[in-house]
Point group: C2
Chain length 480, copies 2
């Protein structure tokens, strides 16, 4: 086990902090609740960004940029919205050396300012659908900060779209939920359950909120992305109307959807192990690290020639490869350095390997000497892409297996109350409760309704809270 990293089974919260520190992902800022994203952590976010950005553009969205500062009066225009966000706002009262006539809020999200502009830009049905996204920072005052998961400032993308009718807007809402699901599973190797939020858990100002819920390796849930059907709520508050083909004024139907830097926290907590981070190849800033091993200068020259050749060939194939040829550090130190950082595949090359015509490969997802294997020198470059794909798939499979092993059914609140303490995980239960039942559930068990999965099984049963017969199942879990 890596020194300086707590065993996750002993203290998961401390393990999480240890990994963030040892892999140099982030650091805490002088302002409470804020964080510094260090280069290695930021490069994971850059990979998340570029991957999602491509998917957004493929589905017809364009990036724009809306201002950080929003007049306080805007936030108050949509009743549920202000109720939800008022307690979390950061307020600018002075600017340019003077007290402002109207205080400004730092955007907690941008529905209001975007609707203000949509009202100006959208006139007729020909202007629809309007499909925008922005990559931005937002601020929501955080009382219980936790690196990546809950920070006062965080980075995210927020998609905002306007449509001619409910049908198209609802299709968009689910389209983007699917984009998130696909990204989570096929890039981040995180299996997720797409579902609808309950009334109590939905976005402040939405008609319906959808979510992808992932299970962390301690059995807790992480809401990893959300997509909202906003109906005409903001359109009515901001008079966002268009002239339809019959020359009649109609409110637009809207959506918004976002993922944030908390996804980095999800990657850590789904894949990390007692030795630190483990990164799925498609997200890893460094996919392959090559460690040349040589005791003297002549061996070193010989080894480096081969190493540089492999490096260049891998770069040609768009593999993100790094060579750790730092001097004055032992191979063991370097192994640990890259292991903590979760690099998916490590190659070692020394003089004896050259003699035997192979390199030694260690996949990060299966630690331990037993899983090391050799690759003949002449085929190493060709084999790396399939090896990385293999690691990617194995990591997703492992995460699915772990999640399924921690997914349970319970029939009664009494059973659940005990089970969630002894076996944290996802609990699939019959549900027919309302917001009050949810509040009571949370008070008694610290668990919440994570979502009403889109995929429902046949049959019916008695609601865990009300005892009423219902055909709806939900997922209960403790959540970050």
């Amino acid at each position: 086990m890596a020194k300086n990293i707590t065993n996750p089974d002993k203290d998961f919260a401390k393990w999480y902090q240890d990994v963030i520190r040892e892999a140099q992902l982030a650091d805490s800022a002088p302002v409470r609740g804020c964080m510094i994203i260090r280069p290695y952590g930021y490069s994971i976010w850059e990979n998340i960004k570029s991957n999602l950005d491509e998917r957004f553009k493929e589905t017809g969205h364009k990036n724009a940029y809306f201002p950080l500062l929003i007049p306080e009066s805007f936030i108050r225009k949509e009743a549920e919205h202000v109720e939800g966000f008022a307690p979390e706002l950061a307020i600018v009262t002075h600017g340019g050396g003077k007290k402002l006539e109207e205080p400004l809020v730092i955007r907690p999200t941008s529905e209001t300012i975007i609707n203000h502009m949509f009202s100006k830009w959208i006139n007729s049905y020909r202007d629809l659908p309007m499909l925008l996204n922005q990559w931005a920072n937002v601020v929501r005052w955080e009382m219980r900060p936790r690196a990546f998961l809950r920070t006062t400032e965080f980075l995210w993308q927020e998609g905002h779209t306007a449509h001619a009718n409910e049908k198209e807007a609802r299709e968009e809402t689910l389209r983007m939920l699917n984009v998130y699901t696909d990204f989570a599973e096929n890039v981040a190797a995180i299996p997720v359950i797409p579902g609808r939020k309950t009334e109590r858990e939905k976005f402040a100002g939405a008609v319906d909120s959808y979510t992808i819920e992932a299970m962390m390796s301690n059995g807790w849930a992480l809401q990893s992305g959300t997509s909202h059907y906003l109906g005409t709520n903001f359109a009515r508050a901001f008079d966002t109307m268009y002239l339809d083909s019959n020359n009649e004024q109609q409110f637009v139907h809207q959506t918004s959807w976002g993922v944030s830097t908390r996804l980095v926290g999800g990657v850590i907590m789904v894949h990390g192990d007692e030795n630190g981070l483990r990164l799925p190849p498609r997200l890893a800033p460094v996919q392959v690290v090559i460690i040349p091993i040589a005791r003297d200068d002549s061996a070193r020259a010989e080894v480096m020639q081969v190493v540089n050749g492999i490096r260049n060939d891998l770069k040609q194939k768009d593999i993100r490869v790094d060579v750790d040829d730092r001097e004055g550090m032992s191979p063991g130190f370097k192994f640990n350095y890259w292991e903590v950082r979760g690099v998916p595949l490590r190659l070692e090359i020394g003089p004896r390997d050259l003699q035997e015509g192979h390199v030694m490969a260690s996949p990060r997802n299966k630690p331990g000497r037993d899983c090391k294997f050799t690759i003949p020198l002449e085929s190493v470059v060709d084999r790396i892409p399939e090896l990385l794909d293999g690691i990617q798939n194995e990591m997703l499979d492992e995460a699915i297996r772990k999640r399924d092993a921690r997914t349970y059914c319970v029939e009664s609140l009494d059973d659940f109350r005990e089970a969630i303490v002894n076996n944290p995980g996802f609990y699939n239960v019959w549900w027919d409760g309302d917001a009050e039942d949810e509040a009571r559930l949370q008070q008694e068990t610290k668990a919440t309704v994570r979502c009403i999965p889109l995929e429902q099984q046949e049959g019916s049963g008695k609601c865990i809270m009300t005892g009423r017969e219902t055909s709806t199942r939900v997922i209960l879990a403790r959540a970050y």
Copy 2:
């Protein structure tokens, strides 16, 4: 001339606003001084970003992210820094429903917070150089806002580096100035004069500031990027020290450097003409637009087959190509639409063109029917890359010619006073003045010392302000 666009010779400021509106680059925000960057404007910024980001990474820099909110006390730690920035700060006094114990400022730039972290991360000479960059938004309260050029919030990158000694830090300062120069000339097709700022014009907290100065087509200057040697000023204020190889504590020597969304304003004002925007191909979101021309459905099917073939082949070559097949709009409307947006090359394809086996090409940098030409269908895909390179080079050449034609020498303040009014441009003059002379110059002529060019000619002459003999020449101009 495009309707809705003022002639730039009549009213340059209004022309600038017209182009921004008609090309849908930006819109004004409800908060004075802020702007919304619309998708087309933002895509120009995305191209600037990706191009520069690659250059930063090639020169060894890594991206990170530092917080938006900085304790007010941090800004006060470096005396010149606070004097320079205090009047422009936006202050957060309330957060999470409470008055804050210490007000926070929204970052106007990040030297202070970054030095706070550098002090923690840098211990020994082995940690140096530390080469970071961040892409972020900053806020500086703006009394005379102008879209892209001066906005209360703007987007930029800020590089921050720490080095073991002055020599390495000064080398870095000039290295990054060179990166900016190369980018401006070879990507944005904007010729620039790299030079040093005077004491009066330098960054608040720097030892030396360097700049690249570009000439807009009205003869005014735009400071388009800056690179600062900070010496040990911030290191002393924040105790950023390292243990050198002799086991002695030393202050780090630092640099910072940045370009911002004001570059988009520079692109508009260097290249734009009476018909709108003109974009250099390497920055253009759309490099080639194809306009199919067909009066009936059967002609349309035939034309679209060829158009789609060309589009796909160009995409294969990584050319950014768009097909405007919108129905219900005349070719003339579409020509204007893409002309205002400055797309470098327009291709028209109609049934007659197909019969004659060619497409009609119109380069945006040379408007008018005379400059249209035909390209044989079979070679169109092969020729586009060289045509775009040709347009790129022509645009740089044209900008150099225009700048050189507006670059003058004057010998006396009296001559300059008149000349700068009648012939706005760059004035190359002998200079030996101090900050007071600069203030007087600005008061009398509204011009400032833009820079002391790195490239100086031989010889000497009398300073335009003091009459003292000097071997230094500077550039005077009116500036944005």
